[in-house]
């Protein structure tokens, strides 16, 4: 199955770069260009709170080229400075620091700066909103600092971009990328567990060996010390509704019952642990599962770092593919092979 063929199987897609300059915009433009014309698409970019310039490198935020018939959502300010002809179809109730978010349909193609909703909840509303416009595919240009856009609660599928900007040491780059891919690929919990925990929005909860649901009455896994004993002694499953931290993970890794407990998180975007802590947990026989899983379609690589170092594209793709077991593309070099 081709890259594009795989993408159009889903109703929503997030593109997330593991670092700046890993070719995220390139990747987005590539996808937009290759989508079959009968596929109705809507696109937005996660709001970057008022920056129209990349704060790190000082380069201007890239404009996205859109074709006739595509829908897009962006802030009022950017809509006013659009360089395409479009029909305004909705002024949403979402607000950003650049004003309200508007949705429009392209009539004559051109370029536009996108800055849409920024929270996971507002992105979810956006996806639902554009689906009402009979859009087949909603694409979110995500940001690593707001990984929540890649949450399966927001979008069904995911493309990661990585590259020399993330690390110029190829082995390091492969290892770091592999870790993220591994988190995305964490197995989904059994339906019985999903049913129990799906609607719980905060706190740390356990399921006792007798099948009883226990609320540990802590706000997050940050204030966990008090419950350590009863948590590891009595539970066969523990659900962390908020962020999963190193401290929490280590607590379970260090307990004698590490093998007896299934650790549950909503989805991979809630995991904020270091690779070391994660590896230790797995090595000691720990098991972790998610309630919702998104489909990683591919990893796209940009072998050029902003400082000019260029890695061997073919070798990188090959090594990475071997490590992550999903398709890996260098869409700039291999435009026609993808």
């Amino acid at each position: 199955m081709s890259f594009i063929g795989e993408i159009i199987k889903y109703r929503s897609l997030s593109i997330v770069g593991l670092e700046k300059n890993t070719g995220k915009t390139e990747c987005l433009n590539f996808i937009l260009n290759r989508l079959p014309s009968q596929c109705k698409v809507a696109v937005t970019s996660i709001g970057i709170d008022g920056e129209s310039k990349d704060q790190v490198t000082g380069t201007a935020k890239p404009e996205i080229a859109l074709r006739e018939g595509m829908y897009f959502s962006t802030a009022e300010v950017f809509y006013r400075s659009r360089r395409l002809l479009s029909e305004l179809v909705e002024i949403t109730n979402e607000r950003s620091s650049l004003g309200r978010i508007v949705t429009a349909k392209v009539l004559i193609g051109g370029k536009i700066l996108l800055s849409g909703p920024s929270s996971a909840a507002s992105l979810r509303r956006w996806v639902a909103g554009v689906n009402k416009l009979n859009v087949n595919l909603a694409i979110i240009d995500g940001a690593l600092s707001r990984l929540s856009s890649a949450s399966p609660a927001v979008s069904e599928s995911l493309v990661l971009t990585t590259g020399a900007a993330y690390s110029v040491n190829m082995d390091r780059l492969v290892r770091k990328t592999k870790f993220i891919v591994e988190l995305v690929g964490i197995e989904m919990a059994e339906e019985s567990l999903r049913e129990i925990f799906m609607d719980i929005e905060k706190g740390v909860w356990g399921l006792s060996r007798q099948g009883k649901l226990i609320d540990f009455k802590v706000a997050s896994s940050l204030t966990i010390d008090k419950i350590q004993d009863s948590l590891t002694r009595d539970c066969k499953a523990v659900f962390v509704a908020g962020a999963l931290t190193d401290r929490f993970l280590n607590m379970i890794s260090d307990s004698r019952e590490v093998k007896e407990i299934v650790l549950l998180v909503r989805d991979f975007t809630k995991i904020f642990v270091t690779e070391e802590a994660y590896r230790l947990f797995i090595k000691r026989g720990g098991r972790i599962k998610v309630l919702q899983k998104s489909r990683l379609i591919a990893v796209c690589v940009n072998p050029t770092s902003p400082r000019g170092i260029v890695l061997d594209s073919d070798m990188l793709c090959e090594k990475l593919h071997e490590a992550v077991k999903v398709p890996v593309y260098d869409i700039v070099k291999n435009k026609d092979k993808v």
Binding site: E68, E76, Y79, R80, L85, S86, E87, L88, V89, E90, I91, V102, K105, L107, I108, G109
Partner: protein
């Protein structure tokens, strides 16, 4: 006095505002900025409209709930675009977003008008914005979207077609070198033309700006009207009558907030006897001071709160929380309930309270016709001076043209004012109803009531002994 200035009145006015199901922020803003009505004709007109609306929507044989839902949903889409309209009035050329907003308002107003007619809401006046819609919808599509349509100018359509052709040729790789220049040229022409059209559209729309303002205001007013009607239905309120002789009469008065609290508690009640029920109260008064005496926990303060609340509801044209009501119009409602202590402004509880009551006297002296509700004045000082202060206050109030309800635990002698008394404990149950009485004797039930609250028995026993000792003296 504006609606918003009464929100923090201790009578529970905010609860009424919060439970009002307004759909639009325009409705909310409009209501908050509403002036207290003191004109009988205005109040009469307001209730006539409200009554008609209520009958059209909830009247017998009406099955309008689905239609009402749709209308509510439409009103939810009402946006405050007065900023855009004021720019329009200042001859600013509007951009696509502004024009979209105006077209959206026009289409909304037209669909709301249809629904209003369908529901038979005959008093609702909304402007006809068909001409506005036709300006912004030259193709008559009636779709909520906008761009500078091709049909605004022959040239525009032609330029755009050509532009599309060139772009298609370019992306197919047929660039003969001059294509880029040609595209730039066309884009330039197209944009100039668009600007010119926007300028014309803005000019045309300016002539309708009065109607556009009226549409926002009219829909906001409709939102308020429907929310009031819904509140009357939900809280089982009544349409009051305007008193012509200065007398105010309530039958079966209640406090919606307390009823609401009871209803919530009753959900978890195990048996029928455990369920709490609000006992409605009858009360009437003229331009005179009236004292309310009675046992602790007899609901005296609640009577004051209900009276204040209903007076406000009446003069803002809401349903009134009673079985029936005839109400006299006042210039202002003053509520002195609760601890007026404010350490921040350096007032003790006594000083705060006395100052608040003084404000009532000051307004009365200024010739204002007010309703004042005063809860246990001078209660924070010794009973001897307290009694003197309250007796004197009643004397001073007697001669003034104002209605005052005043609760007290002091024995006030004399018969120069009316007294109402809470029926009090009857067979272990509190009877909250009021009765006319001529004796100033205040009930001695405090210890019994305290006892019924499971208070430390030693304390209660000591208190009883002490009471016996005093009687012997």
């Amino acid at each position: 006095m504006l609606f918003k200035s009464f929100l923090d009145s201790p009578c529970g006015f905010r609860f009424m505002f919060d439970s009002l199901q307004l759909q639009s922020s325009c409705g909310r803003t409009r209501l908050l900025e509403t002036e207290l009505m003191t004109d009988a004709a205005k109040i009469k007109d307001c209730y006539e409209k409200l009554h008609n609306a209520y009958d059209s929507v909830y009247g017998e044989g009406k099955n309008s709930l689905t239609k009402l839902d749709t209308l509510d949903h439409r009103l939810m889409c009402l946006r405050d675009i007065t900023g855009t309209l004021s720019r329009l009035n200042k001859d600013v050329v509007l951009d696509d977003i502004d024009l979209f907003e105006i077209k959206y308002l026009g289409l909304l107003c037209s669909s709301v008008t249809d629904m209003v007619n369908d529901l038979g809401l005959k008093d609702v006046q909304l402007p006809n914005l068909e001409s506005v819609i036709s300006i912004l919808d030259p193709d008559g599509m009636k779709i909520e979207s906008f761009y500078v349509y091709d049909s605004y100018s022959k040239d525009l359509g032609r330029i755009r077609t050509e532009l599309k052709k060139l772009q298609a040729a370019e992306s197919a790789g047929k660039n003969d070198g001059a294509t880029d220049d040609r595209i730039v040229d066309l884009v330039d022409k197209e944009q100039l033309l668009e600007s010119k059209i926007r300028e014309e559209l803005s000019g045309k729309l300016k002539r309708h700006s009065k109607d556009l303002y009226a549409a926002i205001d009219g829909m906001a007013a409709l939102d308020i009207l429907l929310a009031k009607a819904q509140q009357i239905k939900k809280m089982k309120m009544c349409f009051p009558q305007i008193s012509s002789d200065g007398r105010t009469v309530y039958k079966g008065m209640f406090h919606p907030q307390i009823v609401d609290i009871y209803d919530k508690e009753n959900i978890t009640a195990l048996s029928a006897t455990e369920k709490k029920k609000f006992v409605p109260v009858d009360i009437d008064f003229e331009l005179e001071p009236v004292t309310i005496i009675g046992a602790n926990m007899g609901g005296k303060t609640v009577v004051l709160k209900m009276t204040a609340l209903n007076q406000l509801l009446f003069q803002f044209g809401f349903g009134v929380a009673a079985g029936s009501a005839v109400i006299d119009i006042k210039d202002n409602v003053m509520v002195c309930i609760g601890d007026e202590q404010n350490e921040l402004s350096g007032l003790s509880s006594f000083a705060g309270e006395i100052k608040a009551v003084n404000q009532v006297l000051r307004s009365a002296d200024a010739g204002e016709k007010i309703l004042a509700l005063i809860d246990e004045p001078a209660r924070t000082t010794n009973p001897i001076e307290g009694t003197a202060l309250v007796t004197a206050l009643l004397n001073v109030l007697k001669g003034k043209k104002l209605s005052v309800l005043l609760t007290t635990h002091y024995n006030i002698a004399g018969d120069f004012f009316r007294r109402l008394r809470v029926n009090g404990l009857k067979q272990g149950r509190m009877d909250y109803r009021l009765q006319e009485t001529h004796s100033g004797d205040i009930p001695h039930e405090a210890i019994n009531i305290a006892e019924s609250l499971n208070i430390n028995p030693q304390w209660i026993a000591e208190a009883k002994k002490e009471l016996e000792r005093q009687k012997k003296k």
